[in-house]
């Protein structure tokens, strides 16, 4: 990566980054696991592993992403699912054993699992 030497270059980079993200998100599935310390303490690493394993088992080509703490420590581990740039659907208390059902019903079946869902995050995915 060459150094950014001017504001114009920064602006161009921002546009490119936004566009890249849009294309990436607009055409695929992104699963985001909260991997802040609070998430890790609640078992998010195991959750993350379960997500990766489940995707591999089903030969699914989804992006797995990590973020820091979003504040809802009482609902950790948190897992967000974004598809085709639509808002993130957040699931709470996603211990590793809950991962297969989320992938089965949300991704394969296209249905939100109401009893595990925490909310919809509209600010994501830009």
């Amino acid at each position: 990566m060459p150094k950014i030497g001017s504001i114009e270059e920064l602006r161009a980079l921002k546009e490119r980054a936004q566009k890249d993200m849009k294309v990436r998100l607009g055409s695929g599935t992104r699963i985001t696991v909260g991997l802040g310390t609070c998430g890790i303490a609640a078992g998010a690493r195991e959750t993350m592993r379960a997500v990766v394993d489940e995707l591999a088992r089903r030969e699914m080509d989804a992006t797995v992403n990590t973020v820091g703490c979003i504040g809802m420590c009482f609902n950790e581990p948190l897992v967000d699912i974004e598809q085709a740039g639509s808002p993130r659907i957040t699931y709470g208390n996603v211990t590793a054993d809950r991962v297969p059902r989320i992938i089965e019903e949300h991704l394969v079946g296209g249905k939100v699992i109401e009893e595990w869902v925490v909310g919809r995050l509209d600010t994501g995915g830009n």
Binding site: T29, D61, G71, G124
Partner: protein, 890 residues
């Protein structure tokens, strides 16, 4: 060489899409591309599953990233025509969010987020902290670009001042002003530092920002450095935050690679280097001078200020220190302007504050709220209220050096000045909510122990003062405190505040001072009664049920005895502290059950129902209250034959005095007769217990009204009573019943501000030899509270008549600890037994459902759900004694 295609059409060949016909779609697209002669420039290929099985077959077209769902063979012609030839999106096939997703509440509709405003945390949990591109995509480094290209350093400082940004590390000093001091300080080499030495128990604001959005801190520091004229900076982060260290290290590398750190940043003259220094976890290193000493490789100890760091800081150079959250706010302030920032918050506290909300609330976590929000909104709206529906008691703000706010101050707006005025502090943002089960003395001890252990030892007031305060508080939690201790604590605190070198020593006493201010009653319960009402101080809590009881009834013992069918012994133990076992078995509020440890597992033991069964099983036998001391010639008059008066009379008779009880009604019992309906407390039950009390040698004079039939002077002079106890009771929440109040004032007795009889800690009224207790002193309460008052006033009067000294002394009865008689492990799954019911006739003649006494089997089985905390206590004390012996032997 691979052939370059103008467009790639990817058709999902995953199992799900194949099931919905993706093979046919693929073939149709290939054929159509071929037919239109596009095969040279458009490639149609299979891909793996993208996770859209429900909407298959899915087709993605690059480089545009157009995403189609439900594409069947019949759609191939239109797709190729529109998208690949004309470059248009076929709306009909474009991805649509499933209807069920739209029904999910958005974050802003969830109570946890509804009242939050996220500035410092805007990216946390949203972007990948390891991706600088994601940060840039969300306006990252745009503020820096604006600052270095459009603003002079002085303008940067002016804008920070205009915005009203104050330091988020605790003291709330205006950031712009601080920058100006460093800018104006003489010196060619200057530093900026980020204080990330977050060490308060329960606080993790800074950690989350560094973990979740490290670039915001880097960018903030760059802007500050530009304003000050610094070319080098440090982030001082504790090594116990490995993920924060990792993410920040990565961010610094990336920012350097992109040219945001280094020389000639964004083509300007501004150059800046940033280092990360890991601290070893000493709490005092959060103090700025100690922090700088630690960076320099010296021992982390504070030094006197001035000189302030702005003049002589790191390696003697002008230095500006702000904390993580302050720095994370900076880019947003410059991106959106001073007016925007000023529009959030209160007059003197602008913007937001991040808090780590922990403790006994439903929603614990990291929150960012506009300044000026109330504590009530934080606890009950964002926090979702108290866990398990318990009662809110207090919130500790500002960490171990902060203060405590009680329920009466829940509407305090959260800003620097209001919190300080209320005796708490903003601190860096720890917020610990505690409920009714928390002992505030123990709570203060915990923080005091933490802060005094973290004293660096350099200055005496902090090193020695903290230890001395801890000695005193420990004495109190061990039940050995004295009233003088409550005078000593503020004195030591004042010395520490005046003479300590840094905020650690100055503020170490804060939790003790603020709990003393708002929860003095709890300190007094430990000191005067040797009782921890919440059952949290281990030394004086044989069992939490016993400690919770206002009359200190030994519930643990009578449950253990009842479990073995030893009802007479159980009742005898009950009567040592409370003669009204049958009454309380029916009507008690059961404070004991609120603190029962079994309640933390499933549900508390049904102590009151057990008591009722036990007492009714043994009540038929006549009770002759035992004599506790030798006979005395003095005579005591008790005015009022309610539970407080009768209990006081009983104890004084047991202590050997001659006691006469006067009452306005035509039979003794007070509110137990007049205030509790017959169907809840039948009169024959009550009469049986009262006659037991009177058998101790108590005379009763009924239909005798104080102020009408006799006066205090009559009792003391003509009556020859050596002491008088007023246990008049009251039916009112505030004040006394009107005739009583008038009569007392006419006799020269002072009332307090609530209109009750004013007494000192030894129950003495404004008149000599006249004491008062019960509802007339504490306000309308319950039978068991009145009994507790009766015991205590009797102990004081006994001491007075024997020694001539008026002094609060304890009515202490040692707990009996029956041996283990069953295996609690067999009752792990036992559920709390349901109450038994029967019908009774109400005062209006209606048939109503009332609780009935249990049968023997139900009662005994319920007893065995008891965890026998008293046995654990016994073991703990034996172990302590053994350890003390071992130590002495060495």
């Amino acid at each position: 060489m691979a052939q370059a295609y103008r467009a790639n059409v990817l058709v999902c060949a995953g199992t799900g899409c194949q099931a919905s016909g993706s093979k046919e779609t693929l073939a149709a697209l290939r054929a159509e591309v071929q037919r239109r002669g596009l095969a040279e420039e458009v490639r149609v290929m299979e891909t793996g599953c993208r996770g859209f099985c429900a909407m298959g077959p899915v087709v993605t077209i690059y480089p545009e990233g157009i995403f189609y769902c439900g594409v069947h063979a019949a759609d191939a012609e239109e797709l190729v025509e529109e998208t690949l030839v004309k470059g248009r999106v076929v709306e009909r096939l474009a991805y649509r969010e499933p209807a069920t997703h739209a029904s999910v509440a958005s974050y802003s509709e969830i109570p946890f987020y509804g009242k939050q405003v996220r500035i410092a945390l805007r990216n946390c949990g949203v972007i990948n902290p390891e991706s600088i591109d994601e940060y840039i995509a969300r306006d990252g480094y745009a503020a820096l670009a604006k600052v270095v290209s459009e603003m002079e350093p002085q303008q940067v400082i002016d804008l920070a001042k205009q915005a009203g940004l104050r330091g988020r590390g605790g003291a709330g000093f205006p950031a712009g002003l601080k920058w100006e001091f460093a800018r104006n300080a003489r010196g060619d080499k200057k530093y900026v530092i980020c204080n990330a030495d977050e060490g308060d128990p329960g606080a993790f604001m800074d950690r989350s920002i560094l973990e979740g959005d490290p670039h915001s801190v880097v960018e903030g520091m760059l802007i500050g450095a530009y304003a000050i004229g610094a070319d080098e900076g440090y982030v001082y982060c504790r090594a116990e935050y490995p993920l924060a260290v990792r993410n920040l290290t990565h961010a610094i590398e990336k920012a350097t690679e992109y040219g945001f750190l280094g020389n000639n940043i964004l083509g300007s003259d501004f150059s800046f280097m940033l280092h990360l220094k890991e601290g070893a976890g000493a709490f005092v290193c959060g103090e700025e001078t100690a922090l700088m000493a630690s960076i320099e490789g010296r021992r982390g100890e504070p030094r006197p200020r001035p000189p302030f760091p702005a003049v002589s800081g790191l390696w003697g150079k002008p230095t500006n220190i702000n904390n993580v959250e302050t720095w994370a706010n900076v880019p947003q302030v410059f991106l959106n302007g001073a007016e925007w920032f000023r529009s959030i918050g209160t007059e003197k506290s602008k913007g937001t504050k991040v808090f780590a909300l922990t403790g006994k609330v439903n929603n614990t976590g990291l929150i960012e709220v506009p300044m000026g929000i109330t504590m009530r909104e934080i606890v009950f709206d964002i926090g979702g209220g108290m866990l398990k529906g318990k009662k809110f008691k207090a919130v500790q703000t500002g960490g171990p050096l902060g203060g405590t706010l009680p329920a009466s101050l829940l509407d305090t707006p959260i800003d620097y000045d209001s919190l300080t005025a209320a005796g708490a502090t903003m601190g860096s943002g720890g917020m610990i909510v505690v409920d009714e089960d928390t002992c505030m003395v123990e709570f203060a001890r915990f923080f005091l122990e933490f802060a005094s252990a973290e004293s660096c030892g350099k200055c005496v007031p902090c090193r020695v003062g903290g230890q001395r305060m801890l000695d005193v508080v420990r004495r109190i939690t061990d039940g050995e405190g004295t009233p003088e201790d409550l005078e000593a604590l503020p004195l030591i605190a004042a010395e520490m505040k005046n003479a300590s070198l840094c905020a650690l020593g100055q503020l170490t006493p804060s939790p003790v001072l603020s709990t003393l201010r708002f929860f003095r009653d709890e300190y007094l319960a430990h000191i005067e009664d040797g009782r921890c009402p919440t059952g949290k101080c281990p030394t004086i809590t044989v069992a939490p049920c016993n400690s919770a009881c206002p009359a200190e009834v030994d519930a643990a013992a009578y449950i253990a005895l009842t479990a073995q069918g030893r009802y007479d012994e159980a009742l005898e133990i009950h009567r040592r502290t409370n003669p009204f076992a049958v009454v309380c078995g029916r009507v008690c509020y059961a404070f004991c059950e609120k603190h029962c440890r079994r309640g933390e597992v499933d549900e508390p033991v049904a102590i009151r129902s057990i008591k009722r069964f036990m007492a009714e099983s043994a009540i038929a036998k006549e009770w002759n209250p035992p004599r506790l001391d030798d006979d005395r010639p003095e005579r005591v008059a008790v005015v009022g034959a309610g539970p407080a008066g009768l209990t006081a009379a009983l104890r004084l008779a047991q202590f050997g005095f001659k006691v006469t009880v006067f009452d306005a009604l035509d039979e003794p019992g007070g509110m137990m007769i007049a205030g509790i309906p017959q169907h809840r407390l039948p009169q024959d039950v009550l009469r049986a217990e009262i006659s037991n009390v009177l058998r101790a040698g108590v005379d009763v004079k009924c239909n005798s009204v104080l102020g009408r039939d006799f006066s205090l002077a009559d009792l003391q002079e003509t009556g020859g009573f050596d002491a008088v106890i007023l246990a008049l009771g009251t039916r009112k929440k505030r004040g006394l019943d009107v005739p009583a109040a008038d009569a007392l004032q006419a006799m020269g007795l002072n009332l307090d501000e609530d209109g009750r009889i004013a007494v000192d800690r030894a129950f003495q009224t404004s008149l000599p030899r006249v004491f008062a207790a019960g509802d007339a002193v504490i306000g309308h309460s319950s039978v068991v509270e009145a009994v507790g008052q009766g015991n205590r006033v009797a102990a004081v009067v006994n001491h007075f008549l024997r020694t001539g000294e008026v002094k609060r002394v304890r009515f202490s009865v040692e707990c009996a600890i029956p041996e283990a008689a069953w295996n609690p492990a067999d009752y792990v799954d036992a559920k709390r037994a349901e109450p038994a019911y029967t019908t009774a006739e109400s005062a209006k003649g209606r048939s109503i459902r009332v609780e009935d006494v249990w049968d023997e089997k139900t009662a005994i089985e319920e007893c065995k759900r008891c965890l026998r905390c008293d046995l654990d206590w016994q073991k703990m004390m034996a172990k302590r004694r053994q350890e003390a012996l071992n130590e002495a032997a060495l």
